[in-house]
Amino acid sequence: MRIENVVCPFCGCLCDDIVVEVEDNRIMAVKKACANGRSLFLNAHTQAKQPTVDGEEVKWPQAIDAAARILTDAANPLIYGLSSTASEAQRKAIALADLLGATIDSTSSVCHGPTTIGIQSQGEPTCTLGEIKHRADLVIFWGCNPAEAHMRHFARYSVSARGSLTPQGRRDRIVVVVDVRPTHSSRNADIFLQPRPGFDYEVLTALRALLKGEALDVTEVGGVNVAQLADLLERMKSCRFGVIFFGMGVTQTEGKYLNIVELLTLVAELNAHTRFTAMAMRGHGNVAGADCTLTWQTGYPFAVNLARGYPQYNPGEFTAVDVLARQEADAALIIASDPVAHFPRQASQWLSQIPTIVLDPEGNLTARIARVVLPTATYGVSAAGTAYRMDNVPLPLKKVVDSPRPADEQVLDWIIERVKTCSA
């Protein structure tokens, strides 16, 4: 069976043109997907797997019971992850956090959390990737490497994509990469600016000064020649539609959200001259959905605590790395993410000290240290649902094969029902 227009749930591009060939409930071929997407579909688990408690296989009701008891016994449970599951499951996770009075945080906090803080300060220019495909003639990638992290971004949306006002695709666009190192993306660029690590704020401020007509009494800023900056600024002012896509190179370096405030301020000021926008290169398939769902349910996009019976938001206090490194969480439910593989050691070590529950299709590194492991279906492959693209456009995910495993949403529902009876 050939299934067309499948949405790949791997990264924030959510490419919706994937073709999957299925025979006898097995994925035989994946077409149009990038290496990451193909690997996700071809390695997705469709065989049954029992949950485990303390390393022993148990039946689902026992595993749910163990998970519910851990969570109800805890004074400060943490629910973390959410970015590689559907928004329907994210919504259930938030309901569970509300029921428990838990802290809930998504992988946003270690990717574009600083972007969100910057947006809360400065505001956010929005547009869809479709507008960029059809209109953008100046495309800047700042501190991101889509050639390796969002492999089809160039072809589908931003560089070689042909739109109504960009009929010649690549030839109708000037492509700029700003990065501290040459990458596969910078090799595709017309202009490559290479600041020193940690100097993005200074370079952005210099561009703002030049935009205001100030003369700079230096020849270089943060390792970038001022003449190059002046040339880039002229292109920014004179383009028809410009966009800055930005990534971890700006959010994970010194300055963090202040870099984003400066970048968004520059973009806002450029709108006095032309149409200019900015967009975060969201990593996981539904990390934008985690922000959207948490905001629509609690008013805040990440780092939310519900212990007082109403939502409180405070990055640095209720963000997962901090809650773990300060040893404040006394139990954790990790949904569709792998903090042991991706958190600083001091934070991930605490997860192995407290009772941890993992809800994930993969046998990841966090599952190895978890007390309860709940193997679920893979969203977008063996479970349907909704995911938000990096431009916050929601797309329906298909179920292309059946799995004997329950979906994340179903398992969270079971935990919620069991917690209600534990608490009663």
Partner: protein, 112 residues
């Protein structure tokens, strides 16, 4: 003890890290995709280490041994793919943002 040298560490995604994680994080592919450090040829020659040999990378927060690879990087910068090895080098301090300093860390590299 070999000669130590100071660098700025950048961590990040690579294609290999992205595709290997679907094969399982206990797979050899994932370990290989996340267990190396890249530096420029000039820096590698200055350190006097051959490609494929191990070096010790150390920050104020931890240390790890990684296979050395040569790549197109500015002198003074090293790259380690995101993953368990990179995590041993990063502090959990987020300065009130929730985000650790995952890029731009000062590190020492010591040939083994």
């Amino acid at each position: 003890m070999g000669v130590m040298s100071e660098f700025i560490l950048i961590t990040g995604r690579t294609t290999e890290q992205g595709t290997a994680l679907h094969k399982g994080k206990d797979s050899d592919e994932y370990r290989q995709a996340t267990g190396f450090v890249v530096m420029s040829r000039a820096d590698r020659e200055r350190l006097g280490v051959e490609e494929g040999r191990s070096v010790r990378v150390r920050t104020a927060f931890g240390e790890t041994e990684l296979e050395l690879r040569e790549g197109e990087l500015p002198s003074g910068i090293i790259f380690v793919p995101m993953g368990p090895a990179a995590n041993t080098l990063i502090a959990a301090e987020t300065r009130g943002t929730g985000m650790p300093d995952s890029k731009g860390l000062e590190v020492e590299v010591e040939p083994l």
